[in-house]
Amino acid sequence: MSSYSNTARLTEARRVAIFGGTHGNEMSGVTLVNLWMKNSDEIQRKGVEAKPFITNPKAVEKCTRYVDTDLNRAFTPENLSAPGGDELPYEVQRAQEINKVFGPKGSPEAYDVIFDLHNTTSNMGCTLILESSKDHFNLQMMNYIKKAIAPASCLVLLNEHPLLKYSTSRSVAKHPVGLEVGPQPQGVLRSNIFEAMRVILKHALDFIELFNEGMEFPSCSVEVFRVSERIDYPRDANGNIIAMVHPNLQDCDWEPLNPGDPMFQTFDGKTIHYQGSGTVYPTFINEAAYYEKQQAFVTTRRETLVASAIGKA
């Protein structure tokens, strides 16, 4: 039976950006983008204009996450329309510039796809971050990538949470894709992490090229981990943390955390247990940058999404 009538017809993804240095101390993206700005052969694909771009050059120069404020939280409607020019925090100015070049966010002129390259100190392996469960183009791309790298794994984190979702630099594009690879310390470049990110991007660009050339992708199921809750460290009255991620939870991103499992360990060795109502899948466990955001880890729930068949319009 022909599935033509069920195939979503989408426009070509011609304009593609690759962002590195959104956090200036996440070195895989900084290094890859700098490499491709010098020589873009590796990212050339027929029918695709791939633009590598350093989003936060001042932070990259200082090898720090940000200068004034987190660029990857800065793309709110308020910030993007804020007056004030030079008086604005550096990253808000950057967000406005990026929105001009790659957006405007939400408009037909916006870039088709933006890949935003990140590292994490958490043991997340290769993770693709999805911002909408209804983005069938991205779902199909992620399915393609997962199949291409098998048996190596690449998991999909879906952040559609009404409160925990945030305004990322990639959100300027029609199809924003986050790439998060860890564990890697800030300021450090690990060869294996760098090469893994490179391979993921290679497959992502291959997918876009195939799509633009007219290949149709049949409907498929994609397993995702949907962000559920942010869990902070136990803190005292002054806001100082009084316990650490438990050794049994440390490095166990994506593994089931059941009620009663160890979660934190106090400085004198006592265990604090997870008190949730059911099994969750924690991730971003002990990410350095999240201490100040009051987050020891996020919980996720496993879900299977169905991606429509897609083809070029």
């Binding site: 290094t31 700098n34 490499l35 090898c63 720090t64 100190t121 043991n123 564990p183 890697q184 310390p185 800030q186 300021g187 450090v188 470049l189 690990r190 060869s191 294996n192 760098f194 100082n240 943390i241 650490m244 991620v245 438990h246 050794p247 049994n248 939870l249 440390q250 490095d251 166990c252 593994e255 089931p256 499992d261 360990q265 400085f267 060795g269 002990n286 350095a288 940058a289 201490y291």
Partner: protein, 356 residues
């Protein structure tokens, strides 16, 4: 078996990255160094008499010398919260060395505090343009030193973390028998993590780090841990090492004799920088996957050390040496990809407390 179940069964093994695990004892040491440059002297052939030292009654435990090395920051804070100032015969000062850097969770604010303790910097005049860390070093020298004087604390233990897979590593300047005996003691007591010693062959006047203020001092360097991250397993290791050190001091002060023996330590002989672009100075290669996380594993000529971004392998040339501090975050700006060291055996005499 899931990772969590493997963790339940493992005793103290760390599960991250490509952890090398506890290395095998190296049976292919090419040569032992001659004793000439060792200040404490190596008496290789004749039996060594027991050496005495005064009671070790005042110690300082320092954390946050680098503000983003979290284990020391939190251990010192905990000790201060519990008002730890004396344990048995040992009075303890707990010091947050670089509070400004700790506040912003950065290694330093203007200059690396742990390079400010040379004689020259400790005596340099303070002006309006003197960096914060140089001033702070002089304050710490007044509080815990003065360096080289009788008033200095008996022992200064400085707590550090590294992004390199160094396990638990004690760092000394001289082959001082007291810290070496403590190293031997800790090595025998702790089996959950590799315990090693690193020696910097530098005269006291040029000694640049905080621990040089104390009469008998060492740093405890534990990794791998990212900057800004507090890992429970690493915290527990450092806490245990500090507890063993204090226990040793109690035993020493109560008159125990610590037996003669031998320890191996690694003496740094040179450092290797990353390959860099000749025009921009940017690095053009990463530590090779076969070297990454293999600190203390003998590097032979022909072994890969870097993998360039365009896929070429750079190999080690020259003598067989031991790499340390492989891919330490803070060393990119110091143009160090890793140190190379020789392994030396130190014979220790038995030591005991000098009675009045």
């Amino acid at each position: 078996m899931s990772r969590r179940n493997r963790k339940r069964r493992a005793t103290g093994r760390r599960k991250k990255q490509e952890v090398a695990g506890r290395p095998a004892v190296n049976r292919n040491i090419q040569r032992l160094l001659q004793a000439s440059e060792c200040q404490a002297g190596l008496q290789r052939d004749k039996a060594m008499e027991s050496v005495s030292f005064p009671p070790q009654s005042s110690i300082a435990i320092c954390g946050g010398t680098h503000g983003n090395e979290m284990t020391g920051v939190y251990l010192v804070r905990e000790m201060q919260k519990h008002k730890v100032d004396k344990i048995g015969s040992v009075s303890i000062s707990t010091v947050l060395s670089n509070p400004r850097a700790v506040d912003v969770c950065r290694r330093y604010t203007e200059t690396d505090l742990n390079r400010c303790f040379t004689d020259a910097l400790l005596s340099s005049p303070i002006t309006d343009s003197t960096p914060y860390e140089v001033r702070r070093a002089q304050e710490l020298n007044a509080q815990l030193g003065p360096k080289g004087s009788e008033k200095a604390v008996d022992m200064l233990i400085d707590l550090h973390n590294t992004t390199a897979n160094m396990g638990l590593c004690l760092i000394f300047y001289t082959a001082d028998y007291l810290p070496l005996q403590i190293f031997k003691y800790i090595q025998n007591k702790m089996s959950s993590v590799p315990v090693r010693a690193m020696q910097l062959d530098i005269p006291l006047s040029d000694a640049y780090s905080l621990d040089s203020l104390g009469k008998h001092s060492f740093s405890i360097e534990v990794g791998p841990q990212p900057n800004g991250v507090l890992r429970a397993d690493i915290f527990n290791i450092v806490k245990e090492a500090v507890d063993h050190t204090i226990a040793w001091l109690q035993e020493f002060n109560s008159g125990s004799t610590f037996e003669a023996g031998e320890v191996e330590a690694f003496t740094v002989v040179k450092s290797v920088d990353y390959p860099r672009d000749p025009v921009t100075g940017e690095i053009s290669a990463a530590i090779h996957p076969q070297l990454q996380d293999n600190d203390f594993k003998l590097l032979k000529p022909g072994d890969p050390i870097f993998l360039s971004f365009t896929g070429e392998t750079v190999k080690h040339e020259g003598e067989e040496l031991y790499p340390l501090f492989v891919n330490e975050c803070a060393y990119y700006e110091k143009k160090i990809a890793f140190h190379l060291a020789q392994k030396r055996t130190f014979k220790l005499p038995s030591i005991h407390m000098k009675k009045d």
